[in-house]
Symmetry: C3
Subunit: 352 residues, 3 copies
């Protein structure tokens, strides 16, 4: 459910997850985002900064330079740029012409991450960030694990498709996600919210499994579990959701036990590669290190499985060629609508 052509524009008008907060410090971090070389660093007072990643003089990667106070000095000829991108020093001459500058990208640090705006700076409104705290990112009462960044050799649309059709859990992750074998058989429903499109599969009355027993050791009955795939935009999808004690008799209500989320931040690196940040959050037993370890362990198995799928598909796209057309089946409740939403998004602003 994607236009596979590379001529398409990136959806610039988004806050993309550029780096986790812990990655941005007094060492220069290079990262390519939406095809542009970017460097991240932190000022002496602790503010995160994002600048274009190559020196405008000879295009040398600024990541090979060094920080001098709040400025970054190119490692080739010593041109130095301050945290706003303005050139403040050129060796062998006294004055710096105004044209000497590198592009400065707006950033917002929230929810444990540094979000970067790649489109026109004047459209960079922090209010456009997704409701991070609602889903447990940097919020009181929630535990959060940031999994290691994986960069996939596949276009980002493939990852969106992957996440919006969780029937794949029954095939790709059948043995790695306890209870996942049942997902494909559950018809999805699509819920529109003000900020998202939620493709929900509700598993009712599921028996316990090792994962649920670890999460809820004190509960011994059957479970109701949501397998949501909630699309906030091409940059952020939440999967997982609420888990409840199953109501044994018809009149009874189910009793909420807790929420576990997989937050998937998707940041295009190039037209055919994608940075994939996974963060797990939960609103119960937030200090339990065993659950944190289990989440990291599950992520370490699940991400390579999806990476293999996406890279396999990316590799076939050239062969599929003009005959490409995708077939839409019932499990595709979400992807076509998310794709249409992306195309209609008024925030698809230009790159600069």
């Amino acid at each position: 459910m994607y236009p596979l052509g590379l001529a398409q524009r990136y959806p610039y008008g988004q806050w993309w997850l550029g780096a986790h907060a812990s990655e941005v410090n007094r060492t220069i971090l290079p990262r390519t985002i939406l095809g542009q070389a970017v460097v991240f660093f932190r000022t002496e007072s602790g503010s995160a900064v994002a600048l274009a990643g190559t020196c405008p003089h000879r295009h040398f990667p600024l990541a090979k330079g060094c920080l001098v106070g709040d400025s970054i000095r190119c490692g080739y000829h010593g041109l130095t740029f301050d945290a706003s991108g303005r050139c403040v020093h050129i060796p062998s001459q006294d004055k710096v012409p105004p044209a000497f500058a590198v592009r400065h990208y707006p950033v917002v640090e929230r929810g444990g991450s540094v979000w970067i705006w790649m489109g026109s700076s004047d459209a960079a409104d922090p209010a456009l960030l997704p409701p991070l705290e609602e889903i447990g990112l940097g919020a009181a009462g929630w535990a959060m694990e940031q999994h290691p960044l994986v960069t996939i050799k596949g276009r980002y649309e493939l990852l969106i498709d992957n996440l919006l059709d969780l029937s794949h859990i029954s095939f790709i992750h059948e043995t790695t996600i306890p209870g996942g074998g049942a997902v494909a058989a559950i018809p999805p429903e699509v819920i529109d919210t003000a900020t998202s499109l939620n493709v929900r599969r509700q598993a009712k009355g599921m028996p316990g499994n090792p994962l649920l027993k670890l999460l809820f050791p004190d509960y011994d009955g059957r479970f109701d579990q949501n397998f949501d795939a909630e699309y906030y935009g091409p940059h952020l999808i939440r999967t997982g959701g609420a888990i409840a004690a199953h109501a044994a008799t018809p009149g009874e209500s189910s009793r909420p036990l807790g929420i576990t989320n997989f937050i998937h931040a998707i940041t295009p690196e190039t037209p055919t590669t994608t940075h994939y940040f996974v963060v797990t959050t939960r609103n119960f037993r937030i200090d339990d290190e065993r659950i944190a370890r289990m989440n990291f362990g599950m992520g370490a198995k699940i991400q390579p499985q999806d990476t293999d799928v996406l890279e396999s598909i990316e590799a076939t796209i050239d062969q599929v060629g003009d005959a490409r057309r995708e077939l839409v089946c019932g499990a595709d409740a979400g992807a076509p609508r998310a794709s249409a939403a992306r195309r209609a998004d008024p925030r698809r602003t230009r790159a600069s």
Copy 2:
């Protein structure tokens, strides 16, 4: 003697050797043929099947799925296709729309191999197969050794050229093919047959050599040996040929000793890579394991030598660029005519 441009069409109207019969079984075999991803497998009753290699839903490689009876199930979302390519099951829904299908390719199993038709199915006439049994493929009274598949990083036309000008034996294979040093000096003649174009070099009165002594230990005289290069189409070339006892006196006839063939099945993988299947056949001492071992040993030396030549040339083609024009010399008796025949072939049908 090839049009080197990549814009050319493949000659679709042929039965290409897709796989040896032993490669096609209850494990899915992926293979790219004429630029298309294909999967081979065998039904429970033993019939060879060839289907398009990617799922039409999300283009995931079907080779990463599994067989369920005579059907193949995609490993991503579980869509299942029967041996005709028709989708027979989609999880999360009851009905399967008719558009859900993968392409089915006609195959014929003969001569120890599975031959596949990549053009329009209605043109797939088994009568168009070359005379396989005549050259010892799957025929009574013949021994046959199938050598391991080699996939060459070079366009298939380079391999046709290589085989149709056996003067290269004297240079590339001088030390690996006993008696080969004499070939270049023998002028070729071209013999048209109903089904082939045979470029023949006849070595008369050759002394014995280790190879001939191994083949004919009971004969101690001089030999007449044909170095044929018989072109049945871009898919199949036979080299080698009849070996006879040399007639010592003018009036006498030579006495046939036997025929040894190298069968070369050539199947384009992509515009610039080629599957190269070699099969050796002979019509004498067919149960002699020593000859079989020697044939495998010779093949294991000869194929890498030709592969190196073809890959070296492929690597230079970009550099040769527009200045490309080939010079035709006497040894090129066959290649230009085979090339012209290919271009004139009415069976150059469209891909589908």
Copy 3:
């Protein structure tokens, strides 16, 4: 200061350093120069020869053939070409058509190297060679060290830019070139000569450093040292220069101590790769092996540093894309003028 577009023409009208004399012998040396495959060898009487590197018959690399007297024989079908490129033998036939020939390139052996002319042969005038002996190449009274060839994955213009702006010494080579830290702060002056454009930075009254003490152990005072970057064309740049005893009092003249040159021969391999030959020369203590060893040691550290810079920039060029425009600062005294000179050069003749 380069037109980065690949559509540009190479500047053919130059003597390019094709190989050092010691590389050209009775073994065939293949080397791609200005995008063309070339083979070098030496005749039995010792003359260096350069011919096109692929056989015109089937485009097989001639470097995989062998020398037969003063001729080169193709390893595929045995076609044989003499030192002028004329085909003198084709197996399987008596006569050789005149069209059978490989291109012959003019070469001149001088200054310890074989210089090749890739443009029209009739324009190949040895008088167009740079003044090699003046800068110590193959001249009496000079020592010369030929450093190992490095082939850089970057376009040759990047290397010219690198060399013409020696302010980079203060950043890239700060710890490898003693005294280099001071270079960036010295404003350059540009000196036009009949045959060159010299971008000179003069360091006056420098204290000694380990390098200078090794070169001039008997002198204990301050130094005047030229950091020249002298452009003879896209094929040859000289850096380094005269070193003198600093005049302690205003009226006094400095006293010459000697000249040390780094000669940089730049030969495009392909549009985006470059052969980089470095030769060090000096006109004092020419038999001192310790200085030779030190020069080799410094080269072994400096060349990888520059290679890393150039390859980093080459890798970013695709990303920089259409937004590419370079900014010119004071240290760029030489590069823009050299670039303009290249574009205006009447010797930008066609390739053939």
